[in-house]
Subunit: 242 residues, 8 copies
């Protein structure tokens, strides 16, 4: 800006040009801040696309735009058809079947030091857990998984005590009654991110039961994301992993 004003004083640019520039400033400035932020963030932050509710055509188009800018890309809630359509245009995309995610790696991922532990209560919670895993990994985190830890068999939990104490952040994925988050939250002093899943039947009401359980957790240090939002948990875990 300084230079423009000096140029203007020196007659190199007209008053109109300066006024035009200033008119654009608020947005440019804002964009600049955002871009700056982005530049900082982009080290490991992928572009993300929520496929649910979008047509395959829309997804392919968005994917191509991001891909042209050489970003790493992450698409969530993606079925195989979307993957196959993408594959034709961008052969390097990878499909994570369990996680229902598509990734494209175009930038080197800078690795983080701390570990993220992803725990599930049951076998059925694995797809959502995998969403968190894939997300955390593409953001440079080292991820450890402990699936089907359960609540009913609390001794299984003790078998993973060391992993819990080693982790920098713990993601707990649980449907049905979702009690696992409170229990792990009570065992560790590290932040716990709870992901309710829509797994279950009857009065689990598509995830309302574990959502309420987790929100009411009497263990300190537990926060909650949306039902089935494995991606959000992985992303937030990466933000707070050191």
């Amino acid at each position: 800006m300084k230079k423009i004003l000096e140029d203007y004083k020196n007659g190199k640019v007209s008053l109109e040009d300066v006024l035009d520039k200033i008119k654009m400033l608020p947005y440019k400035d804002l964009n600049f801040a955002k871009i700056d932020t982005h530049r900082f963030l982009r080290k490991g932050f992928p572009e993300t696309i929520l496929c649910k509710g979008k047509t395959t055509e829309q997804i392919v188009k968005i994917f191509q735009t991001f891909s042209n800018e050489k970003h790493n890309i992450l698409a969530t809630k993606a079925n195989k058809d979307i993957y196959l359509a993408l594959k034709k245009k961008i052969p390097d995309v990878i499909y994570h079947k369990q996680a229902k995610m598509i990734t494209l790696i175009q930038e080197k991922i800078k690795e983080k030091k701390g570990k993220i532990l992803v725990v599930t209560a049951g076998t059925s919670d694995i797809p959502i857990a995998e969403e968190a895993v894939v997300t955390a990994e593409i953001m440079g985190n080292s991820v450890e998984k402990c699936y089907d830890v359960g609540v009913a068999g609390i001794h299984r939990l003790f078998d993973i005590k060391d992993k819990i104490f080693d982790a920098n952040v713990v993601i707990v994925v649980a449907g049905m009654e979702g009690a696992l988050a409170s229990i792990i939250g009570g065992l560790t002093s590290k932040p716990v991110i709870a992901v309710p899943t829509s797994i279950g039947y009857g009065a689990s009401f598509k995830g309302i039961a574990p959502l309420l359980t987790m929100l009411n957790s009497c263990a300190e240090g537990v926060v909650v994301v949306n039902i089935d939002n494995g991606f959000g948990a992985g992303y937030f875990a990466s933000l707070i992993n050191r």
Copy 2:
């Protein structure tokens, strides 16, 4: 009946009398069965009055009726005013302040052998737990209490491991996220009766959160009663205590 018919054959009673008796039979018979059942049950089964929604006058009247029949009586959700009104008429009534219950013992309670363990997650769940305790005790059960066991501090749970294994039935009273029932259900092979409480705030929604948690318990051997229904839990526990 046999005798009546023989009397009738022998002319001791008229046809009309027999017909009258038979007319009453369905109800009498039914009543008889009930009374019989009652006689069997009454060994330790109190008459119960839910005070909520009744006027003090109504409660006093019902109490007096039962009291005249020399039954043991149990009134739930009773405030102190009701107690004071009752006390004037029936000086032997006892008020259980925490449990908000009034009892009157007029029959010897036959003691059962097995133990019932009543556990609460927090301090605030104690009033509902006490409702279960008073109920179970008036029905002849030996009751052990472990309050404020929590979930967040799972080690507190281990301190009571022996009590859990000793008990014949476990009643778990918990508000907020209600996860304790699942955990205890996973530790023991004895029946667990879960009582959600309306304790908590925000998304506990006056007991909906722990109710759903408990209904969705992935631990086998856990059943649920109504929110804040300590009485129901104590009663059922007594039914299945050996």
Copy 3:
């Protein structure tokens, strides 16, 4: 432990070995307790697998693991495809079509003395009732069934009065308004386990109506399990059947 310590005193084992052992103790001990418990329980207690939310591959694998340990196995919410996939690997599995369950009997089931009565309000509640029946039977219980007893035709209820009085535990399976549990709870002094079903339409809201009805039962001695959780009812009934 005593022996180890004596061995250590006698120099048979090193200090390191003793410390290693002690380090493992909490878990071993816990496992031991669990194993012990399990040993006690296994007399009639099957291993159970909830198929809903698991892939066929996962189910087959879990089934095989349990099967290798010669346990009795019970899989719930299983469709025919899962059965056919299992059948190929483990020819002895049996499919219970109505109950949507798969069982494998490898251990002799120890029979219990008391009877469990399973009652349904309507014809449509039978699949959930059958889930309770199959569960209770594999756990060694003698089960009696009375289906389509209804509430609207209370006289049908009286036809089964004797069966109700004979049973040690009654499981009541009902959708729509779910009133049957209260009525049977009022007739008998035996424990009643109520199973709401998602049968019905409109304001039954997939089982919320009977669930609330049953939770609010004014009959003493009624407890509730999750909507459509026939297995849970059968399991709990077996726990309390003498």
Copy 4:
């Protein structure tokens, strides 16, 4: 109208006057229809005022307006203060304490032949039942009451079998699980009007539980009114009583 037109033809009224009258016709005519209807209905149909949400001043004013027209008047959900305020202006008003209703009788009530039976499940449902009773009586019906019939003690229901068969219409008032409506609906072929009450605690959710139960009644011939709407039930019962 005929007369007006003849008067007009005969020059007694001007064209403008006739046009004015006709302009008013749709409304007058409609009013007329209503009035006519009213005239027919008024034989026993009171004017009604729902006090809830209105200021005492408003209630007194509305009451006075109706009272000037010599109608019978019925005010619902009225506390004692409203009654006392009214009493000062209209000394003949009567307060029905249990029903929380105020009535004023100024016209002879034409009595109906058939009987309406009002049944409650519990003692706490009586205030709502009384609302139905007072309403039905002011509309000329002969009302019989059976309170605290319960569901848990089905034999109490049998004691009133004759009253049920005698009634032309049955009103069933029940909170908690509300099962009584279905049972009576199954016993009788007469129309049953179910009134859920907000009595209860926990998962009765201020009347949602009995409301859903009653809506899902599998007994034919049961209809439902709003929670705590004793008035509506009494009114409808009167409409269909012969």
Copy 5:
């Protein structure tokens, strides 16, 4: 009974036989009452089967049982496949496509005098309305239909004013906001039965919106049945039609 007792006195039957008979009495008597009732009712009352939740095999079997007793039969929520399966066994069954009902007429239907008017708010409510129509007709009622009357175009309502005043009972079937029941309830002094339908989208929440609207109707003389329960409305209307 009298005869049996006299026979017994005369030695024609043994004491055992009399006792056996008396033992059966409560039920027989009850059955008798029911049968008597039934006999009275059967003049126009069909046997009904709710197909939803039942297998085709079960439906066919129940249908055949009723059909053997020469009753009129009504099956609700029946798809075409059920009809075709029934047709093979009982060629006289009729399929009501819009109403999704199957009927079988084997007894002469006794016709009633009064008229039942069935009104729908929209075109989409017609299937549920037809359910009411078919039900009312098989019970001997003369039914008039006014479909798509709407609320938004209140003038359409006035076109049917005469039909409303002529009817003895009005059934109002409406989804979305369900306001039509209140409006018709305000126009007529005849009983109005409101049927909420699951028609609509978004915040109609599968019928909750019209259900609440109808329950809260400020018009006197409106009662409600379950969402989509056209049958219940038709049945109740027939009960109160004179």
Copy 6:
């Protein structure tokens, strides 16, 4: 009317004829008013048909009726099959694939001066936005679209600042958390119509989340229509566009 009365005075029409006419007046008059209104409105107001819940046959029939009167017609929530069936009868119909609407233009649309801006939060909200666009355009409005403006990237919102200030009315279509309506409501002093969509997963509960968000908007000047009701928003926007 005046003429009729003069004719009557002059003996040209009989008293009976005049009375007949007057009898019809309320309705005619009302119809007239409506027709008059309609005539005024019809300048740009299409006839509309909600396809959801109607059979294709019904839709075709209604469409043809309107089409015969040479109105412009708008059908909402229409799938392609309906379009193809219509196309056969009325070749001029146009299918708006994204909006799932069918239109038929038979009258010249009078164009309005002000602009309506339609904004979506995400790509997935476009179908509902297009419903608003097609509706507003057929009613003569000039519509500008800004899709995928988001909330997370508030700078995208600033890029459209000018469009927001230019618009006479803004329609904001958003699923998930629906916050966009409040933000735009805070930026502009023009009326904002918020349309929640059922897009999202988990705790968006098919549109309940954005619906509640929008209803609770702390920005003044925001009103709400039903979930997914793009048509209603477009229609209302047109009503208030100058």
Copy 7:
């Protein structure tokens, strides 16, 4: 800005001063836009304070700040205590008792031409209606009120037909079943703003019933604001009143 730059070129201000000014620009500019907007809007737009949830001290302070800038001020959901506290500091404040609002007029209100009609279904809805009235009036609108129009007595609605047709915008305030909005929406081609109220009992669920009714309105041209948000309706009505 132009002047500053020329001053800078002419050496009247330093480069630093210009840079400082530009740094502030985004916000100033934004503020400017807002201020500009505000200036335009302020002709009749009051500053508003929602009292609910604020302490009296906070309210007085905010009120004083606004009052110093000589704005017109509107405080909603204000009880009498708040008014009395304000009165001491700012004697000119006016309390609108029914509306629970406090106003302070310091600027001349520019009057609008069109009329806003505020209609209530019942007497109890008046406080919320008055909130709309006071709001609309302080924004310069001419307001007409029609209270207690009802739905049950549709003829009362016809008495106000002319007022409906005269109004530029109609605000409909209704609790219980909230049907009035649809009916008025069907009668007029003017925009209708529906305000659900929390008036009612039982299944009105504190306004959920009328809210859903209004959202599902099948009448075109109806939008909805939050439950009890009379202010929002008055404000929006003013925005669209011409």
Copy 8:
């Protein structure tokens, strides 16, 4: 342990003593881990007491126990009476009126480097925000507050842009529509903890509206705690603040 074993080998302690010690080990060991953890954590981690649901007696007792161990103590949801009762026993307690918290500082708090920013949407959200502030401060965090930032006036948000970018963690406290969390989440790449509050009226449903909004946030990096759980947010923020 090592020492004990050596002592045992050397005969300083008996076998029984060693066995006793080992018997205690699982718990001790566990306690040890916990204590160790605690020791690490205690640098800034207070003991916390949720007052809601506890009697004043219970609170005082718990407080005294913690106070004897010289911990820092934090009591939440505490009214003034509790404070006054505590003050008598422990004069050093401090009452935070807005936050409804009581603190007792007995240990030096170790200060953290990063800053936590606490933002509220409205004035009414301040009490919950203050709960987060007091919690974060007692845990050694430097806290910055920006209250009443709003959503409706987005320019106010830009005034705090620098504070947002400076903070290490942002806590967003908002009732009503709760949109602020998404907007701030979209502006910053730092973790955002969203706290829904029960502030608002009507369809905010005691915090359900902002809870759902926040759970559905389309901004990455936003997690949610229970309604009104300012403490939980402050605690979690401290866990992840560097």
